[in-house]
């Protein structure tokens, strides 16, 4: 963690902690996934002054909650967009796409004001803001985002909650 000299003084540790939280929360790394929140500071090492600039680098060990979806994991997500290619859903910072190849064949796309996927008898509907349970079949972590592909074609997957009835 690099700190500018203006932060030195009595509140050095607090400044360091708040800067850490600001910089790290919300970022993504390939190895750990998405950092949701910092839960505790384990250790702050001795600071090293950089040559040339006045910045000081502190090695900080901290604990945090991370979120990383895995292939095969079952997640609940909220639908954000529905179109003829499938639907996009969000589970926190993770964007998941469920293509229509992986939507059960009895669900058909209906376009219109509120595009949705409906079963032939109209009993189950997937539209924007529906909650669905899906299975992740592939993930890829980018610098700032995690992309996933999901499916609802298996047993026990699909709509949990119909927004129109809630």
């Amino acid at each position: 963690m690099q700190l500018h000299p203006r932060y030195f003084g009595r509140n050095l540790r607090d400044n360091l902690v708040s800067k850490l939280m600001k910089d790290v929360e919300g970022t993504c790394s390939g190895r750990h996934g998405f950092v949701v929140a910092v839960t505790g500071i384990e250790n702050i090492g001795k600071g090293l002054i950089r040559d040339g600039t006045g910045f000081v680098t502190f090695p900080v060990k901290y604990q945090c909650v991370v979120f990383r979806p895995f292939k095969g994991e079952i997640l609940e997500a909220v639908v954000t967009m529905v179109n003829k290619m499938g639907f996009f859903a969000e589970a926190g910072p993770v964007q998941i796409f469920v293509s229509n190849h992986l939507i059960p064949d009895d669900m058909e796309f209906q376009s219109g004001d509120m595009p949705n996927y409906t079963t032939s008898d109209g009993s189950v509907k997937i539209q924007k803001d529906s909650e669905v349970r899906l299975k992740i079949i592939g993930t890829r972590v980018d610098a700032t985002e995690i992309f996933c592909i999901g499916t609802i074609k298996d047993d026990f997957l699909g709509v949990i909650n119909d927004p129109t009835t809630v």
């Binding site: 895995f70 292939k71 095969g72 967009m81 179109n83 003829k84 290619m85 499938g86 996009f88 964007q95 796409f97 293509s99 190849h101 992986l102 376009s111 004001d113 992740i136 079949i137 592939g138 993930t139 890829r140 980018d142 985002e145 992309f147 996933c148 592909i149």
Partner: protein, 448 residues
């Protein structure tokens, strides 16, 4: 299953090997030892592991038939892939949307305007186009691609407003109630936009006949802002705003990013050379120059509409006329054409409607600039006129810029119409034969 003893290194046919592999796959249980993610019944993983084991036994044997075995492996691989095959219809964030594999390839077309990270491959695009076709033809709708600048609106940068246009800064409409206004100031983009008269009625009526897309050479934030002004409720252009960031070629627009078949798409644009590959689908619009900066951009020295405090006629302007043309094309496509809906082609309808405008006119050109002549001739022929090079009693119009030429004088003598080339251009823009009286040329010289 013992891999070593069953290894068919010395077997003759590749079929034996394929059979062996198929057998091995059927016999194996899904939870293979090297597969850690036990929930995932990935047959592909199993196959890869088996192949690795096979290859390692090959190496220990060190036989010369290793090459043959590898060939067989390749053959087996391709045949087994078909069993578990994924056609990889597209990718989202580089992951195949059907099987989840990471695909680094560049094939297919990016559809970033629908959702960031989405990319579809050719087969999937054609499949979607065909299903779209059926849905829309069933509901009697064709596709319409609309350009923004100079077609539906005119935008200027705030800093480029001329002194006579500064009064507009006080006349802008509120951004809260977009549906009622037509002149908007976008502070955060330093721009001012004027919507073309009649545009809201145009969009409303066209939406009943067409599935509409916006395709502009502006960047995505600009395109989305304009879409919000034209369509505050999001009913026309939701996820159908294509900007230059979505196009596949630089400086060119294409229908490859539109999910509709070429035979059912009409394009409304003021720039012909942006649509080199789809000229037959294009309806050329007369440019809308509201701001002085726009006039200057195209080399016009006259006062802009804003400076003269006037505007295009609402009910008689370009958009109204084009709406009539669109209605005519739509009606002809659905009512008058014979044959299956899927086989009809809107381009044919367009050219036949265009060919009726000047049908019956026999034109001769007199002393037209030789650079402009081929274009003019082409436009005239597209409009249905016949162009001759020699004077003939059947000639009905002589097109010239100078009333003193031999052909011009002949026209006056024979009481034929003597018109300026703009008469042809006007017919092209307004899709209607214009009254010749408006395009008569005055006699300027007496020499031939």
């Amino acid at each position: 299953m013992s891999v070593v003893t069953d290894s068919p290194v010395h077997s003759s046919g590749s079929d034996d090997f394929i059979d062996y592999l198929n057998e091995a796959l059927d016999a194996s249980s899904p939870n293979s030892s090297s597969d850690e993610e036990a929930e995932n019944q990935d047959e592909f993983e199993d196959l890869r592991n088996k192949r690795r084991k096979l290859e390692s036994t090959e190496e220990t044997e060190g036989s010369t038939s290793e090459g043959i075995v590898e060939q067989k492996l390749v053959v087996a691989e391709s045949s087994v892939v078909k069993v578990d095959g994924c056609t990889h219809p597209g990718t989202f964030g580089k992951l195949c949307i059907s099987c989840g594999e990471i695909l680094d390839g560049e094939s297919g077309v990016t559809f970033g305007y629908i959702h960031k990270g989405l990319r579809l491959h050719e087969e999937e695009i054609s499949r979607l186009r065909n299903t779209e076709m059926n849905t829309f033809l069933f509901s009697k709708k064709l596709f319409l691609v609309l350009d923004l600048d100079h077609t539906l609106l005119n935008t200027t940068i705030l800093g480029q407003l001329s002194s006579e246009e500064l009064h507009l800064l006080n006349e802008t409409d509120s951004l809260e109630d977009v549906a009622k206004g037509s002149l908007f100031k976008l502070e955060h983009m330093h721009m001012m936009t004027k919507l073309r008269p009649f545009v809201r009625t145009f969009l409303k009526e066209a939406s009943a006949m067409f599935e509409m897309y916006i395709y502009t050479m502006g960047d995505r934030p600009y395109a989305l802002e304009m879409a919000k002004l034209l369509d505050p409720q999001g009913e026309y252009f939701n996820a159908k705003v294509i900007s230059r960031d979505d196009g596949t070629q630089k400086h060119q627009k294409g229908l490859d990013v539109v999910l509709g078949r070429d035979s059912a798409v009409l394009i409304l644009d003021d720039t012909e050379h942006a649509w080199m590959k789809h000229k037959n689908n294009l309806i050329l619009m007369e440019r809308y120059h509201f701001f002085a900066s726009s006039c200057r951009q195209f080399g016009f020295n006259c006062k802009s509409l804003a400076e003269t405090k006037s505007d295009e006629n609402e009910t008689d302007g370009a958009l109204a006329k084009i709406l009539e043309v669109l209605k005519q094309v739509h009606c002809t496509f659905f009512e008058k054409l014979q044959g299956d809906l899927v086989d009809r082609d809107v381009r044919q309808v367009l050219s036949s409607v265009r060919g009726e405008i000047l049908s019956g006119c026999v034109i001769i050109f007199s002393r037209i600039n030789h650079l402009a002549l081929p274009t003019l001739k082409r436009i005239a022929e597209q409009l249905g006129a016949t162009c001759l090079t020699e004077l003939d009693p059947t000639v009905t119009h002589v097109v010239a810029t100078d009333a003193g030429t031999e052909k011009a004088r002949w026209a006056v003598k024979e009481k034929k119409c003597l018109v300026h080339p703009r008469w042809i251009e006007a017919a092209n823009y307004f899709w209607e034969k214009q009254p010749e009286e408006n395009f008569f040329i005055k006699k300027t010289t007496t020499q031939s």
